[in-house]
Amino acid sequence: MIRDLGIVGAGTTGRGIAQTTAQAGINVVFCEVSEEKVAEAIAGITATLDTEIERWGLTKTEKIVILSRIRGTTKYEELQAVPLVIEAVGDELELKSDVFHALDKVMSPEAILVTNTSSLSITQLAAVTNRADRVVGMHFSLPVPKRPLVEVVRGLHTSDETVQRVKEFACDIKKTAIEVFEYPGFLTTRLILPLINEAMHVVMEGVANAKDVDTAMVLGYNFPQGPLELADRVGLDEVLRWMEHLFRELGDLKYRPCPLLRKMVRAGNLGVKTGRGFFVYDNRGRHVRENVSGIFRISHPGPTI
């Protein structure tokens, strides 16, 4: 079992991975660019754990134990001894390539290098290292501590052993792994994006309003949240970036971004992070809406960790 883990980049995803793995009993060292960023990440994780306590999901003692397993640093060298490093910096090829190049130098030759990309080519990233067989993708669903799924992504040179070890690791941190081969959008992103895009078309074409679109999918198809609320939570700029990526890579019209999406991004209504997207949100990211009947939530409690 993997006991020590390295993470590079402590944004939302990196923090989520740190929290999830520490909660599973793994000691985590994460690397950020400055001491301020390190402190910010620790404060962020602490705040998330406090919210968990407020939601009855965690006790104060458990919080202390989890935090005691997480340490931040600004030096790649501190990741030297760990058997597995997950890179979770911004989803840009150049940035990730630089990180991979630097990590490859300090990490022990047997160690596995994981990238948490949702769109980039594992094979291309592996090319800047001397361990292409030990480079693999792990695409976590967000928020990481709440979603029990991870896509394990094979690059062209990823070895079976590496895939196996990463799958075992996923199991240890209580995630269900599905295996996909490198391809634009992998599986989850590729399937959900056209749905979100189509929902926006429905609104744009005046077929139904945003609230009814979401209600239809929640009640009719048992979705834990509607596609438009999901888009708001992901960030509409992110959705647009992904759609453009798929459209560019695959060229199929079904990936053409909905004009309404472009319009909203241009207007700066990016969803939860700006307080307004298809719906309105308060500063804690809670949907400001009429009281949704609690009854249907009982039968659809949503996935738990």
Partner: protein, 408 residues
């Protein structure tokens, strides 16, 4: 024979080395040779404490990441030339394992054969938080001590005598058949120890008296013991049911949790943690899950602490009264566990007003008894009320020796 008693939890290993055998049990010459604890396994530093009879005690904080390393350390400590008590681990004649859940498969302790092992593993489904660690402890101990018999002693076994009408829930029968939904009860080893010990205190064989046993620790349960057999207990399918506990709610209208889950949009995990870790004494008082602290806080005027204590004792009283009836009259009530052994206040309040049932606590006797054994009822109390510090390890050691000798 030297029996190593092992109790493996998620991050701890508790152990004792006890000299016992059917003959020594008979002659009363059993002896505890060593005891210890390894806590915080898998964390930055573990806490090891160890004390062998007549040897210097040990406290250390090594890095122990796995149960295997912990159990290896146990064997090293026991055979250490300075602090240990045996020359080498070959002196250990048997290992007794505490196993939380034996389901309906086990009504008494068992020498672990391949078949028994397979059935214990099957019980993991019923106690996913506990049994896997017990099983892991066994697997490691078997590798380290392959030549001696290993015996499993189950927390649920003592309660397997509970009759069907008492162990079933008012749900469609299909759930019992499909998922084994029924009352299993826990703390069986402790309730059994009290039953055994009360024979000596009452000077009568267990077939001649009825008993109410109250195990009040961090988890709390109470049992009705009819002539030596458990016929009802407060913990149910899981340890969540029954008495109010440190952090668990105990009895609850099941509709409440559905209602709260809907109102607060809780997930299953959050609801589970709410009931098991945020409720009970800590949830009500908002102060502590520790009865000692609560008594202090209540004296300082904390309303929350006072309410928590009142609720705790009231529920206990309700169960004592009910079990008195269930038994057709109890001859004695026995208190044990951290709270039962050390809180005169809880014992007093939970028996207050039960004079009509023949239960009269003597104030002075009750106040004087703290962590030791004895009677706290008045001389004219029809029902004897006792404090009996529990000893689950000795029960495990004896069962181990007896199971090997085929005397269970």
């Amino acid at each position: 024979m030297l029996v190593l008693v092992l109790n493996c939890g998620s991050s701890s290993v508790k152990f004792q080395l006890i000299r016992t055998s059917p003959e020594e049990i008979e002659a009363g010459t059993e002896k505890k040779l060593a005891r210890g604890n390894i806590e915080k396994i898998g964390m930055t530093t573990a806490i090891v404490s160890f004390q062998a009879e007549g040897r210097p005690s040990v406290k250390e904080n090594p890095v122990i990441l796995e149960h295997r390393v912990a159990i290896e350390r146990v064997l090293e400590l026991l055979s250490d030339p300075t602090v240990g008590i045996i020359k080498d681990s070959s002196e250990i004649g048997a290992v007794g394992h505490r196993v939380v859940h034996g389901g309906e498969k086990f009504s008494k302790s068992q020498v672990i054969t391949d078949e028994v092992y397979r059935r214990i593993v099957e019980c993991c489904e019923l106690a996913p938080l506990h049994n896997p660690h017990n099983v892991r402890g066994y697997e490691i101990a078997r590798e380290l001590l392959p030549d001696v018999p290993h015996v499993a002693v189950f927390d649920t076994a003592f309660h397997q005598t509970i009759p069907e009408y008492a162990y079933l829930y008012g749900l469609p029968m299909i759930f019992y058949r499909r998922h084994g939904i029924r009352r299993y009860g826990f703390h069986g080893t402790s309730h059994r120890y009290l039953t055994y010990r009360m024979q000596q205190l009452l000077g009568r064989p267990q077939s001649e008296f009825n008993l109410i046993t109250c195990h009040l620790g961090n988890g709390c349960s109470i049992a009705a013991v009819l002539r030596g057999h458990s016929i009802d207990t407060s913990m149910g399918f899981t340890p969540l049911e029954g008495l109010l506990m440190g952090t668990r709610s105990g009895d609850l209208d099941p509709a409440i949790i559905l209602h709260i889950m809907a109102k607060e949009e809780l997930t299953l995990h959050e609801a589970n943690t709410l009931l098991n870790k945020h409720s009970g004494l800590i949830g009500i008082s908002g102060v502590s899950n520790d009865m000692r602290e609560l008594v202090k806080e209540a004296q300082n005027g904390s309303k929350g602490a006072q309410t928590a204590i009142e609720m705790f004792c009231y529920r206990l009283k309700k169960y004592i009264s009910a079990y008195h009836g269930v038994l057709g009259g109890a001859d004695a009530v026995a208190f044990t566990g951290g709270i039962g052994e050390n809180s005169p206040l809880v014992r007093e309040l939970s028996c207050k007003g039960l004079e009509c049932l023949g239960i009269i606590v003597d104030r002075e006797r009750n106040e004087k008894l703290n962590g030791s054994e004895g009677r706290i009822s008045t001389d004219d109390s029809r029902v004897g009320v006792y404090v009996v510090p529990t000893d689950e390890e000795i029960v495990i050691a004896r069962d181990t020796a007896n199971a090997i000798a085929g005397k269970l």
